[in-house]
Symmetry: C2
Subunit: 328 residues, 2 copies
DNA sequence: CTGAAAGCGCTTACAG
DNA sequence: CTGAAAGCGCTTACAG
């Protein structure tokens, strides 16, 4: 039942040529080797007769590239709970990988005994692929640096500034998008704003804060930053008219603020999209799918040795919404 | 910058031993070769120093194992729309793969030019992995048969009966689960039931119908099957008291029936969970995550040559719900 | 025009 | 105890 599959040597024997000639013929003679049509046909006929199928493993070993891209995440690749924010990126990654003829290896971060580890060995295993995408709020700097140093092609999804800019990335331009939200508030007459953020210093958080603070400063409006709390009564006493809130995978800040401002006349905007979806809340859309696509694109460019911009920030799409009132 | 990756020969040179000895040491000396502890440590140290990572392609070519499991789907692995039903399976697959120390290769079904194809060549490429999971409503019989014939380990997610049972699978026991729903209706006094299904003959559909029809026959109650329509007025004229509806990725039948029976006093059950979630609609929960886990388990058993049951049907969990009335 | 050889990076008998 | 050799099935220079 489990017959040995025919290989090029078998074809060669049947056609009366060398195995190398078989390889050349079946490979479509990319090298442009001169060869009699008769030989070519004999080889093809023999291959057909034997039902030959090339062994992809051997093919890849011999040809140095395996057309596989790694995807390494610092939590489960398919998270149980935060599917919303993560999933679109995967969709984009797969889309573009398929478009470029690349397979994807999901590194589960397992150590053989089943523990999900993120030590150097686990990260090193990504070298199985031609290159690797990394995704997570943290960067294990030492391990990643070793990878970068060997010239292994890698791309982070999300902006990174570790290793003096030697980490290629495709991220979202949270600074501009966040500033645009504040600009809008200002244009509608708001002069006293609060920004509520979570207590985590990933780039996606600091970028948002920076955008908010800078835009407020430029416009000369007051905008205090608070972490993880929503003292609405105090705000209203202080004359605050609008609240901006960060949105993360935990949705913690958003939920707290939303609950607090509901039923008040405070204007309200979110730096992203609310977990419940919809287009009524003022904010912006993070181009996650596009980030996935572009990350794959950049990675393949790195592999083929002709990369474009190593640090890409994609624009977010503003969502006007209806939760910001005109107070002029 | 792009230094060549270290290989066993480099380690051998550094440690002053032969390349074969390196292979033995790094392979954990499975063969029980006698070897001085000193040599072993020297090799290990050299490997660590060089940051050695085994080449999985070469490993597989030489040993036929690379600890990678393939995942081949006949649509995008990360579908844009049907995330609900599909995602939990992926979660289970990843979970169990990680637990067993296996990485996952997502076959994007792309040919080199970017077209998503499902021809024989695309399916044959799965042989890069030690084995492969297949998932989709259809079975490209000829291609799968060739794979099975060469002894390549594969497992389908979802019951299959093609190839005279030679396709190993892990599916859900829709027959029993569907019968249980009808049994419940009968126990509550319903004697005239309609079953609405979609017009697609995948096993998951035919199994549901079979469960419904057989349970009704056993109980001696009338249960007509209709496809893709919900003539509620006619049903009520005919004395129907309960409607059961199939649930698929398209949600078409469910939505049509739900809209039709809403506001009437007809009892209502779904063979699965409604797309809107919740536990109020009577039906059952398909153990998707568990299916993913078990499929990986079976695949690894096939690879290691000690498989359990090749055809596994997992029980679905009944959801009592509140949409079925007592009419006794 | 075609074949013989080397090599991709590993594993696995087999010698000593 | 360790090394040399063969081999997995292919591709790619390199000889003739």
């Amino acid at each position: 039942m489990t017959r040995r599959a025919p290989r090029q040597a078998d074809i060669a024997a049947l056609a009366g040529v060398s195995q190398a000639t078989v390889s050349v013929v079946l490979g479509g003679n990319q090298g442009g080797v001169r060869m009699s049509e008769d030989t070519r046909l004999r080889v093809l006929a023999a291959a057909e007769k034997l039902g030959y199928v090339p062994d992809p493993v051997a093919t890849r070993l011999a040809s140095r590239r395996n057309h596989m891209l790694g995807l390494y995440t610092f939590k489960a690749t398919f998270p149980t709970d935060v599917a919303d924010s993560y999933y679109p990126i995967l969709v984009g990654v797969e889309e573009q990988a398929a478009a470029l003829g690349q397979d994807l290896i999901l590194f589960t971060g397992a150590d053989g005994r089943g523990e999900r580890t993120h030590d150097e060995a686990a990260i090193r295993r990504t070298k199985i692929a031609d290159g690797c995408l990394f995704f997570g709020r943290h960067v294990p700097v030492a391990s990643i640096e070793k990878l970068v140093e060997t010239g292994f092609p890698l791309v982070y999804i999300g902006r990174r500034d570790e290793l003096e800019g030697r980490i290629p990335f495709v991220g979202a331009d949270y600074v501009s998008a966040s500033a645009a939200v504040v600009d809008r508030l200002v244009s509608l007459g708001h002069r006293n704003v609060r920004y509520v953020r979570e207590n985590d210093d990933a780039p996606s958080s600091t970028d948002r804060e920076r955008g908010v603070v800078e835009a407020a400063a430029r416009a000369g409006v007051e905008c205090r930053v608070v972490r993880d709390e929503a003292p609405v009564d105090e705000w209203r006493r202080d004359g605050v008219t609008a609240v901006v809130v960060e949105e993360t995978d935990t949705h913690a800040a958003y939920r707290a603020v939303r609950a607090a401002v509901d039923g008040t006349d405070l204007s309200f905007a979110v730096l992203g999209r609310p977990p419940e979806g919809g287009t009524d809340v003022t904010g912006f859309e993070v181009p996650r799918r596009e980030m996935g696509r572009r990350a794959v694109e950049l990675l393949v460019e790195l592999i083929t040795g002709d990369p474009g911009d190593l640090h890409q920030l994609l624009p977010c799409t503003p969502v006007p919404g209806t939760t910001v009132k005109d107070v002029r």
